[in-house]
Amino acid sequence: MLEPKLQKIADLLQGIRPEFDFSNGANFIATGMLDSFDMITLVDTLDKTYGISIDGEDIVPEHFGGLSAIAALLGRYGVRP
């Protein structure tokens, strides 16, 4: 079982790439689970869901490799998913 805040992010990711399991700890970028098209959808989804605007300098693989990394990034924008 994931913590609720991570589960919420996993659900958002599932909406983008339904065929993958985002809770198994794999690196989303290194494994190709998220490609450049998904990244655009993901950033749009996060911006829209949480009413934020993720900065270009923050769009780096390190911030999108896993659920905790994404949660930490959102935290820096004052979001508690």
Binding site: Q14, G15, S36
Partner: protein, 516 residues
């Protein structure tokens, strides 16, 4: 000596290589991949091995051969091997949904498909027989395995109006179209671009576009003709602008030909001041409108670089108009697509099919050697887009109708106004909204749909009517069976009923201005 003029007019695109990089830069690096690099000599030997392997399969001259490989030197080897053998290459997208790939393969009727062992199972699942597959690994070995005389004899039967390649693009009825381009059209464009911009072979090309796009044509033949080096940028970097700029610096990239989307992101995110990009001398872009404000940011940050806007649908070899950014432009001034390339005529036809006068709006139509042969195995759609020049009643002459509405400004530069139909450009990809709608209607429970595009936000929204709740995940999963990744809607929105205009048609304009 009776003849003191040169009769050797170029008739085959391979001559760029045979008279260019091959004799002059045999030992220079031609292609850099993330984990390997190949010289022009190696590429040539591999390509001839590949040609010999094709010959063993008894493929008819000029028949198309599909290539299903990741973006890599292997694709270049396969393509050149195919041309050495007197055939036409069709590079396909490995990430296409199987249904779409199958439709493309069926339409192509490719006698042979060049792939790699790891992708063979995908093709077998589509029902392709093992004997129609050729594994590229067998060609990528130093050992020469070809009979030069046999290859030469076969290639000598190819004339310049024969097909060189087939490039696929979205079709509004749901089936992609295969645009067939010949040697002549490619030579027509390449001769112009090489001379006009004085490429000298010192270029390091930062290649970001897929090889199943027409930007590849320029990148490939530039390297083959002049000995420039092509650096394959890893696909996953496209999503991360900072990494992309780091890569350009690390590889000293001096020439890029990109679609604007990624460059606009880089400019808007104020990333350019952090990188010097000193080596970058020339920037070509095409495929969609580059907002002038973002372009101005690039020009300010890279004063040493030349910027060129190119325009041309796939139905013209690479591009048919160009505009060199040689004057200051205000942030709110629209960027022209400029002037016709050499040996290309642009007609602007109004709705009475007469030449537009002054700044009158009309459809951009293209005349010249650079236009495609038509859509492969598709006479109906060919007949609709490639038509008799209405200004010429004297003899058969084809023009290509682009569907783009344009006018000439007071400087004589061509300006884009919009589209005649529902075709969009999304991240450089040409998409028929009809193809997305067609796919969505195949999902059980969906009764009515409308796909709209918001260009500034780069968002495709699918509005749909359905009696039941459908999650984004369910919709994406089902659409992914028919549509390539770049066509999948960014947002989904279920409506009780799609809005109608007074004559009962779905009100697209209303949906396009609505914020989903």
């Amino acid at each position: 000596m009776l003849l003191d003029f040169d009769l050797d007019m170029q008739i085959n695109a391979l001559e760029y290589f045979e008279q260019g990089a091959l004799p002059k830069h045999r030992h220079k690096v031609a292609v850099i991949e993330p984990a390997a690099r190949y010289t022009f000599g190696e590429i040539d030997a591999f390509a001839r091995n590949c040609a010999a392997a094709i010959l063993a399969h008894d493929v008819p001259l000029n028949a198309p051969i599909a290539v299903l490989l990741p973006k890599s030197a292997a694709t270049i080897v396969a393509d050149l091997g195919i041309v050495y053998c007197g055939n036409a290459y069709a590079n396909l997208d490995l990430k296409s949904p199987p249904e779409r790939l199958k439709a493309i393969l069926n339409n192509l009727g490719a006698a042979l498909i060049i792939t790699a062992a790891e992708h063979a199972p995908l093709l077998m699942r589509l029902g392709v027989q093992a004997e129609r597959l050729l594994m590229i690994e067998t060609a990528m070995t130093e050992r020469p395995a070809y009979d030069e005389a046999r290859l030469r004899a076969r290639r000598d039967r190819v004339i310049d109006t024969d097909p060189l390649c087939i490039i696929h693009t979205s079709g509004s009825t749901g089936t992609p179209k295969g645009v067939a381009l010949n040697h002549r059209s490619t030579i027509d464009f390449m001769d112009w671009v090489l001379q006009r911009f004085e490429f000298d072979g010192s270029e390091i090309v930062g290649s970001l576009s897929p090889f199943y796009f027409d930007i590849y044509t320029l990148e490939l033949y530039l390297c083959l003709a002049k000995g420039a080096t092509l650096v394959i940028i890893p696909e996953q970097l496209a999503a991360f602008p900072v990494k992309l700029l780091e890569f350009l610096e690390a590889e000293s990239v001096s020439f890029i030909f990109w679609v604007p989307t990624v460059m606009v992101n880089i400019a808007n995110q104020q990333l350019l001041p952090k990188f010097s990009l000193r080596a970058l001398r020339r920037v070509f872009f095409a495929g969609e409108v580059f907002p002038t404000k973002a372009l101005n940011e690039w020009r300010r940050r890279l004063p040493q670089a030349q910027f060129v806007n190119l325009y041309g649908p796939i139905e013209i070899s690479v591009d048919c108009t160009y505009f060199i950014l040689d004057r200051e432009m205000a942030d709110d001034e629209k960027l022209p697509i400029g002037f016709a390339c050499r040996n290309t005529d642009i007609l602007i036809l109004n709705d009475r099919d007469q030449a537009a006068e002054g700044a009158e709006h009309g459809e951009l139509c293209v005349r010249g050697s650079s236009i495609a042969l038509g859509y492969w195995n598709d006479p109906q759609r060919t007949a609709r887009a490639f038509v008799q020049n209405p200004l010429n009643p004297h003899y058969p002459e084809w023009i290509y109708r682009t569907g783009d509405i344009v006018y000439r400004n007071e400087r004589g530069e061509i300006m884009i106004v919009g589209r005649k139909d529902f075709q969009i450009k999304h991240m450089g990809y040409r998409i028929e909204l009809g193809e997305i709608e067609h796919a969505a209607l195949r999902i059980p429970g969906i009764e009515n749909v409308c796909a709209v595009y918001q260009a500034e936000k780069k968002i495709i929204t699918l509005y749909f009517e359905s009696g039941r709740e459908l999650s984004d995940a369910q919709l994406r999963e089902q659409l992914a069976a028919f549509l390539p990744k770049y066509m999948l809607p960014t947002r989904f929105h279920r409506l009780g009923q799609l809005p109608r205009n007074p004559n009962g048609k779905i009100d697209r304009n209303l949906l396009a201005t609505r914020d989903a």
